[in-house]
């Protein structure tokens, strides 16, 4: 009795303070919804798979490609029995499964990729995770849900084995894309600068012709609409894969568009009506918005909803900025020195900035 207790002193007390250098048993699960489809990537440590399947058939302490090949169907069987996705009483199936060895945190993993086929796309999916818990209660799965570009993450463990994936609803959120469009215009100094230059151009042109303030507002809206229609066209073409231009070219052209529009404030050469110029430059800016939005992997009605919402978000942001600028500009008397100073200084800054962007993006200066 005494001897056992004495032995326990070191085994139970002392080692409390030593931490473990080995990687814990973690799998990584990423579920991605793209339109009507759900894709999964499940990375499992070979060491964990071996506990269940004893893949090292020749017992040499390693797993070869040959041993992986001979266990592919068993791996798929284990995967489908331990990662269960259901809708009500119906089970979702795995399709187009691929199995590729990889390394995560320097440990060898098997990356399982598959699409999940559920009977009722759009309805919540219940996920039940059972992998390895019968053998290793320390096992966890670090999961990430990517729903049309929006991410949520969490942990599945022996105490928390199920999830209801409401996020896997496949409908595209109009609000999300509207907000994304609004945020994008507010976050883009090149777009903002271009927009403000255009608004100044409209007010200067109107002042030269002594046009009423109401007409100035109307002309501004017309100009913004031309810009929006143009960028909506190229954004749509880019998202459907019809039009593609390298990012450096698009970004350089956007910088140049700012410089050109600013130069027009000193020496008007874009014509009295600014909306055709706004439309032309809008085509270029649309390609810039497309790269900011990234690949959506959605089609049909969902794509139309997403692009409409994104464009309306941009339009709303533009209106907010243009209204603010107009209020300031129209509050200044046209012959006022401050008015002259503000517009000319702004035009100079915009011209230099636009030119710098162009040089930087095109030639890497």
């Amino acid at each position: 009795m005494m001897k056992r207790l004495a032995a326990l002193l070191l085994t139970t007390l002392v080692a409390t303070n030593t931490a473990f250098a080995h990687q814990a048993s973690d799998s990584y699960l990423v579920l991605t919804t793209e339109g009507q489809r759900v894709f999964a990537q499940w990375d499992i440590a070979f060491r964990d798979l071996n506990v269940l399947l004893e893949m090292d058939t020749n017992g040499d302490g390693s797993i070869t490609r040959g041993e992986l090949k001979s266990h592919r169907s068993q791996i798929l069987d284990v995967a489908s029995r331990n990662l269960i996705l259901t809708q009500g009483d119906s089970k979702c199936g795995f399709e187009n499964t691929t199995q590729n060895p990889t390394f995560l945190n320097n440990d060898p993993y098997l990356s399982l990729n598959f699409s999940v086929a559920c009977p009722n796309p759009g309805e919540p999916v219940r996920l039940q995770y059972k992998f390895l818990f019968e053998t290793d209660l320390s096992h966890q799965s670090l999961f990430k849900l990517v729903n049309n570009g929006k991410e949520t993450a969490g942990i599945i463990n022996a105490d928390n084995r199920t999830l209801t994936l409401n996020q896997l609803s496949t409908s595209v959120s109009f609000t999300d894309f509207f907000v994304s469009g609004f945020v994008h215009i507010m976050d883009g100094p090149d777009h903002i600068l271009f927009l403000l230059v255009l608004v100044i151009a409209v007010t200067l042109s109107a002042e030269r012709k002594h046009i009423a303030k109401k007409q100035i507002c109307f002309n501004t809206v017309k100009l913004l609409t031309a810009f929006t229609v143009a960028h909506a066209i190229t954004l749509g073409l880019a998202q459907t894969g019809i039009l593609f231009l390298p990012a450096w070219l698009v970004e350089s052209a956007i910088g140049l568009s700012v410089a050109i529009a600013a130069a027009d404030l000193f020496y008007p050469f874009l014509g009295a009506k600014k909306w055709p110029a706004a439309f032309t430059f809008g085509l270029i800016h649309g390609l810039g918005f497309a790269s900011a939005l990234g690949p959506l992997h959605i089609m049909g009605t969902d794509l139309v909803i997403a692009l409409t919402a994104f464009n309306l978000g941009i339009e709303f942001g533009q209106l907010v900025l243009a209204t603010t600028a107009l209020i300031i500009l129209l509050s200044l008397k046209p012959q006022n020195k401050i008015h002259f100073f503000v517009t000319r200084v702004f035009a100079t800054i915009a011209f230099i900035t636009g030119l710098c962007w162009f040089m930087q993006r095109a030639f890497g200066f």
Partner: protein, 373 residues
């Protein structure tokens, strides 16, 4: 060329499995299969769980604790869980730093059982780690009638942390001089005496006591980490390198070896350091991080990231309040200029009448504190 030829062929090795050829691993796999086929065999379940825990500790591999927990699960779900199972369950929880869970399990073990003294000692240890000295004292006293000498060492250890450092040190020294205990108890008590000596500013004496430890038992990661810290205090990093081999698996030892390499101007940024950084990052994502102490040590002495070190030290402080943890918290707070934390540690020290000469240098004005390396 050879590597290229072997790529994507059936012979290409894509994963190496640790210990799969090891006779003990083979035996454990057989035992696991046996327990799955004979779920009512308590003896084999206890034996298997015990072996898994031991293997997990020896190889610093937390997976084996998960395997042990899975073996115990069926028995823990029973209305009347056997006390051997409860004790093993508490042991796993303790290693995973689930201290409250471990204490709950230990509380379920009746006083009449054979396992009770072990449970009381484990409870005392956990309470002490958590800085709950009153509860720890109660646990030590419970042992009194059955194991007076262990109870005495337990009580002296607590006394040294709560205002009676010198008296406790002298008494423990006396106990060890006048009595002959089993190697396990002697080594355990010597570890306590080393700690007391360091806190009394008798670092050389601590090194002297280390020499009396049982050679095999002193190989435990905890004891070697403690000895390494003593050697650092004596400015003997070369001896730390001799103490800790390169293929070490315990985090506590790896960070100390890297620290010694750094002090000696050697290249310490190696595969091991990268692996540790990845591990700390991965564990921080896992939620509760039982490696927070080692992470704080790493960020403080190696990567020199005081803010990260402080975060890890604070996370560790929620779990552990041993002398090393107090030092780490104080030093990271000073390094990162977080005076609120410094004040907090000072309050804690005063409240508990904690004595530690190594802390004193951190209480000097900032201009007086030298670099740690």
């Amino acid at each position: 060329m050879k590597a290229m030829q072997s790529e994507n062929t059936d012979d290409q090795v894509i994963a190496r499995l640790p210990d799969s050829n090891d006779p003990e691993t083979v035996l454990l796999t057989r035992m696991r299969r046996y327990t799955q086929e004979h779920p009512d065999d308590l003896g084999t379940a206890v034996n298997l769980a015990h072996r898994y825990i031991a293997k997990g500790k020896n190889e610093s591999d937390t997976r084996y604790l998960g395997y042990a927990a899975a073996v115990l699960k069926r028995w823990l779900d029973m209305e009347q869980t056997p006390t051997q199972i409860t004790l093993l369950d508490a042991e796993i929880k303790q290693y995973n730093h689930d201290f409250s869970g471990a204490l709950n399990s230990l509380g379920d073990i009746p006083q009449s059982t054979q396992q009770y003294p072990t449970a009381a000692l484990m409870s005392a240890n956990i309470h002490q780690i958590q800085g709950r000295f009153v509860e720890a004292h109660t646990n030590c006293n419970t042992l009194g009638t059955r194991m007076s000498h262990i109870s005495e060492i337990c009580t002296l250890s607590l006394a040294s942390l709560t205002g009676d450092l010198d008296v406790a040190r002298q008494k423990l020294q006396e106990l060890l001089t006048t009595n002959s205990y089993q190697p396990e108890i002697t080594t355990w008590a010597l570890g306590k005496l080393m700690d007391m000596s360091v806190r009394s500013n008798r670092v050389q004496e601590a090194l002297y006591y280390a020499g009396f430890m049982d050679k095999t038992l002193a190989r435990a990661a905890f004891h070697r980490a403690q000895l390494a810290d003593v050697l650092f205090m004596l400015n003997r990093p070369s001896d730390v390198l001799s103490l800790i081999s390169e293929d070490e698996q315990s985090d506590a030892l790896i960070v100390r070896r890297l620290r010694a390499q750094k002090i000696l101007g050697q290249n310490w940024r190696s595969t091991a350091s990268k692996r540790l950084e990845r591990l700390f990052l991965a564990l921080s994502k896992r939620g509760k991080n039982p490696h927070a102490r080692e992470a704080a040590y790493y960020y403080l002495y190696l990567s020199e990231e005081p803010q990260k070190a402080l975060s890890a030290a604070l996370e560790n402080w929620n779990d552990q309040k041993e002398p090393i943890d107090i030092r780490l918290l104080m030093e990271t707070a000073k390094q990162s200029g977080n005076m609120n934390t410094v004040d907090y540690v000072v309050d804690w020290i005063i409240k508990n009448r904690y004595q530690d000469a190594t802390i004193a240098k951190f209480l000097m004005p900032v201009s007086d504190t030298g670099a740690t390396e």
